[in-house]
């Protein structure tokens, strides 16, 4: 048996920073990974999808360079080359992770970990079985894609997100079932590469948790890309192939106006993820789960069993890599005896659709529910010099200000680089920055972040680049 101070199960964006931080604090640390270093995020999630989205945007933009007086011939797509470039990005990052773990003195084990008791794990891998024990064990096993019974993944043309990101050939007709983050990101990327894309969503709005006016900006772009959006539509099942049609898959759906049959060469099913809390032997040692299988934790990451911690997707929503990272660092600090708690005000997030959407803090609905009196400032990117000069003047920067404290409580951005712009807004929320703080902070000209203070000024009708008559 090998004994450590702490063991982390799972080397994703929650687990590996947790292990590194524990090692930095002088603990003897092991990390166990059953699949790939870097987890879903680096291998089959955030990173490869962003590479593909960027490549598809570049491909798409090339076709519009003539507006700026640049004449190029029709661009040609080499899917295999694109995929191998994407693979290179992933490889560089995942090697970086295992290198960092090694340099920090974390002992790495490849294999599947199962609890024997609260302080002992049995790891079975290619090299056989090993027993590891530690005072503290951190579960960072993440989540996995869930399917729907009527559309079973087959790895060929009914795909999960991992497989959809790895297509070597562009599907002519691409069908997305589930209009959440992942479905729209991948769907839009394939639309830009030239697929005919249809999105089917059971709810009445795409991206259900996002404020509607932001989604509308993206829907406009989807229409421009020739995409079809069917909301309030349920997938019923596959029908026999119609020999008269070229496409292989025929999906019957129930729309608001009755039944329809949709054609596709490939279907992406993106309806959600579930926690990887099974197969670890947790029931044996008494770690409590909620009804959805999420490991229940307090706001340090402690589970119901002393010495066992759970961080990231496996303890529930929001299933975001950066939330998992913060969880991992907090749990590491708590294990080292620090008074570290999850006490951040907001977990920001971004959707890499076109234009990008990003949010930090409260939505209008949430502010109302909390009984906070607020003012709204909304600054359009059409009035921002940088957005115009890069030919991307779509969307807006919306700010919610608490009337009582005059502090920023919510930021909702749809537009170019929204995912980057939200960083400053998140800092403002965490710092409790006031209207005064923001409008007195100089922003470089001409840049997209200038939209932030302008939106803030609009909460009291004073923006320079938008005329708003005083009421």
């Amino acid at each position: 048996m090998k004994t450590f101070d702490a063991i982390v199960i799972g080397a994703g964006p929650g687990g590996y920073p947790c292990a590194i931080r524990l090692a930095q604090e002088g603990k003897k640390v092991a990390i166990v990974e059953k699949d790939k270093w870097g987890g879903v995020c680096l291998n089959v999630g955030c990173i490869p999808s962003k590479a593909l989205i960027h490549a598809s945007s570049q491909f798409h933009k090339t076709q519009h360079l003539s507006e700026m007086g640049i004449q190029v011939g029709a661009p040609k797509l080499d899917m295999e080359k694109m995929q191998s470039w994407k693979g290179g990005v992933v490889k560089q990052l995942t090697q970086g992770v295992s290198g960092l773990l090694k340099m920090n003195g974390v002992t790495a084990f490849s294999g599947n970990a199962v609890f024997k008791d609260a302080h002992t794990l049995e790891v079975s891998g290619a090299q056989g079985k090993e027993t590891l024990s530690a005072k503290d064990i951190v579960i960072a096993t993440g989540s996995r894609v869930v399917g729907i019974p009527i559309l079973k993944f087959n790895g060929k043309n009914i795909l999960d997100s991992t497989q959809a990101l790895d297509l070597k050939k562009l599907p002519k007709q691409f069908l997305v079932v589930g209009g959440g983050f992942i479905g729209l990101e991948i769907g839009m990327a394939y639309a830009k590469l030239g697929s005919k894309v249809t999105v089917v969503e059971a709810l009445d709005q795409l991206l259900a948790s996002v404020e509607k006016e932001l989604v509308q900006v993206v829907e406009k772009k989807m229409r421009e890309l020739g995409m079809t959006v069917l909301t309030s539509t349920k997938a019923l099942g596959l029908k026999e192939k119609d020999p008269a049609k070229e496409s292989v898959l025929h999906l019957e759906v129930e729309t608001k106006d009755g039944k329809k049959t949709l054609e596709a060469d490939a279907i992406l099913v993106s309806v959600g993820r579930k926690p990887n809390s099974d197969g670890l032997g947790l029931e044996k040692i008494g770690v409590k789960l909620d009804s959805k299988g999420n490991i229940q934790t307090d706001n340090q990451g402690k589970t119901s069993v002393a010495g066992i911690w759970a961080i990231g997707d496996v303890n529930g929503a929001p299933q975001l890599a950066h939330r998992a990272t913060q969880d991992g660092l907090l749990a590491a600090a708590a294990i080292c005896g620090e008074k570290a708690y999850r006490d951040y005000k907001t977990v920001p997030w971004a959707v890499f659709v076109d234009p990008e959407i990003a949010t930090a803090g409260l939505t209008e609905k949430e502010a109302k529910e909390k009984g906070i009196a607020y003012k709204v400032g909304k600054f359009p990117f059409a009035a921002n010099g940088r957005a115009l000069s890069t030919n991307e003047a779509h969307g807006f920067f919306k700010v919610l200000i608490d009337e009582k404290t005059e502090s920023v409580i919510g930021v909702h951005i749809v537009g170019p680089e929204a995912s980057n712009l939200v960083a400053e807004a998140t800092l403002a929320i965490e710092m409790g920055a006031s209207v005064e703080d923001l409008v007195r902070t100089i922003h470089t000209h001409p840049t997209l972040p200038e939209a932030f203070p302008e939106a803030v000024e609009l909460t009291f009708s004073k923006a320079i680049h938008v005329f708003k008559p005083k009421r």
Partner: protein, 424 residues
């Protein structure tokens, strides 16, 4: 492993074994409480540093043992039993340091959620971290920044307001032990003709020893004076609204402490102790006021340190925090030390006045009694006033009757007209 009595507080060299919570042959988990040990005035639970089996228990209940002496031998899980040692080695530095509790205690899931900072509290992440570190509840701190922003300074101030009530432990070992009440079971009266014996242990035993020692050594006498508290009653009533806004429970004690400080400064012999062995009177430059507190387990005297440097609000906050901790049995050892003078408030329960027993080695204790409306002669008229008796017990070896009387005259001088405190 040999587990020795760890260093559980500054200046504590020994402890009395109150109760074993584990038996020989029993399994213990890491951090499971093993034994209740009484030190000075507080009882602490000492947890096991490792998981294993209790092999030998060395000290018996009721026995007093020194810090560093072996308490118990624990056979670590998965290790062979060591050969039994007949006589444990003495006076070695404690090697087994219990681990920090924050990472180990089994908190029921979701209790920590209550510690979440409300969204509306304006404080930077660094300020929030500071509040965590100092155990200051951010939601209760009044922010001095723009629109009530809580600054680091605000948190620091709030902490200092409660610091004497909750000093940070100076030894890491202390942080792993929590003071637990030594519960004397609340018993019904025994049946007719029957006898029930209750061992004299824990807080009860300490009280018995301390009171007996005080009565045996100090030459007690009690001086009683009455004071018209009407002005203090009015003054307190006029700031109750403010107290409510500050969320402070404001009793009469802070006012009495305020009046007491200049009197003690004027009569330093009342703020002293007598060292019987060296035959020396030690005058104290600090004004650390003990507050005798009634708890379910007996009388405990937590101390307000540096009372002369605190304002009414800080005194009031500290009194309620300390009293609550005392009642919950959560008082830290350091909270009970360093007193220079004690106040006992018998009036909250009843009585005209009491003759308090001095808290040795101090030389004086002030009994504060009930404020009652009584007819008094003012000029040649009979008027109704808020009257209170003050009873001061002093050690005649150090303080004579005339000085006690002069001291009490000054107390009356300030309490009957509290505005005079402005010039004190």
């Amino acid at each position: 492993m040999d587990f020795k009595l760890p260093d559980i507080g500054e200046g504590i060299h020994e402890g009395e074994i109150i109760k074993w919570l584990v038996k020989t042959g029993e399994k213990v988990a890491a951090d499971q409480p093993m034994v209740e040990v009484m030190t000075d005035k507080a009882t602490v639970e000492i947890p096991s540093p490792i998981s294993g089996t209790i092999q030998t228990v060395y000290a018996k209940e009721g026995e007093t043992i020194e810090v560093g002496k072996v308490l118990v031998v624990i056979q670590e899980e998965g290790k062979a039993a060591p050969a039994p040692k007949p006589e444990p080695k003495k006076a070695e530095a404690p090697t087994a340091k219990p681990t920090a509790p924050s990472s180990r205690e089994v908190t029921p899931v979701a209790t920590a959620e209550s510690k979440a900072v409300p969204f509306g509290v304006l404080a930077t992440p660094a300020t929030r971290k500071l509040a965590r570190d100092l155990d200051v509840e951010l939601g209760a701190v009044k922010g001095t920044g723009l629109h009530g922003r809580v600054t680091k300074e605000d948190v620091q101030m709030a902490y200092e307001g409660q610091s004497a009530a909750a000093p940070r432990p100076s030894h890491t070992a202390v942080s792993s032990t929590s003071v637990v009440p030594h519960t004397i079971p609340t018993v019904a009266a025994p049946q007719r003709g029957a006898l029930q014996t209750i061992p004299l242990r824990g807080v009860r035993k300490k009280i018995a020893e301390a009171m007996q020692h005080s009565k045996r050594t100090a030459a007690h006498f009690t001086y009683v004076e009455e004071v018209d508290m009407s002005a203090v009653v009015q003054l307190r009533a006029s700031v109750l609204e403010e107290a409510k806004r500050r969320n402070v429970k404001l009793s009469y004690l802070p006012f009495i402490i305020k009046a007491l400080i200049p009197c003690l400064q004027e009569f330093p012999y009342l703020n002293s102790s007598l060292n019987d062995e060296k035959e020396e009177i030690v005058l104290k430059g600090d004004y650390n006021i003990g507050i005798a507190t009634d708890t379910p387990n007996g009388l405990i005297v937590p101390v307000i340190k540096g009372a002369d440097q605190k304002n009414i609000w800080q005194l009031a906050t500290e009194i309620s925090v300390l009293a609550e901790k005392a009642r919950m049995g959560k008082v830290a050892v350091d909270d009970l030390k360093g007193g220079t003078f004690t106040i006992t408030n018998a009036g909250s329960i009843g009585g005209v006045f009491a003759t308090p027993v001095i808290n040795h080695p101090e030389v004086a204790i002030l009994g504060v009694n009930a404020i009652r409306k009584r007819p008094v002669v003012k000029g040649d008229q009979i008027a109704i006033a808020d009257m209170m008796f003050l009873s001061l017990s002093v050690d005649h070896r150090v303080v004579d009757g005339a000085d006690a009387a002069r001291f009490m005259n000054r107390m009356v001088f300030f309490l009957s007209e509290p505005t005079r405190l402005v010039f004190a």
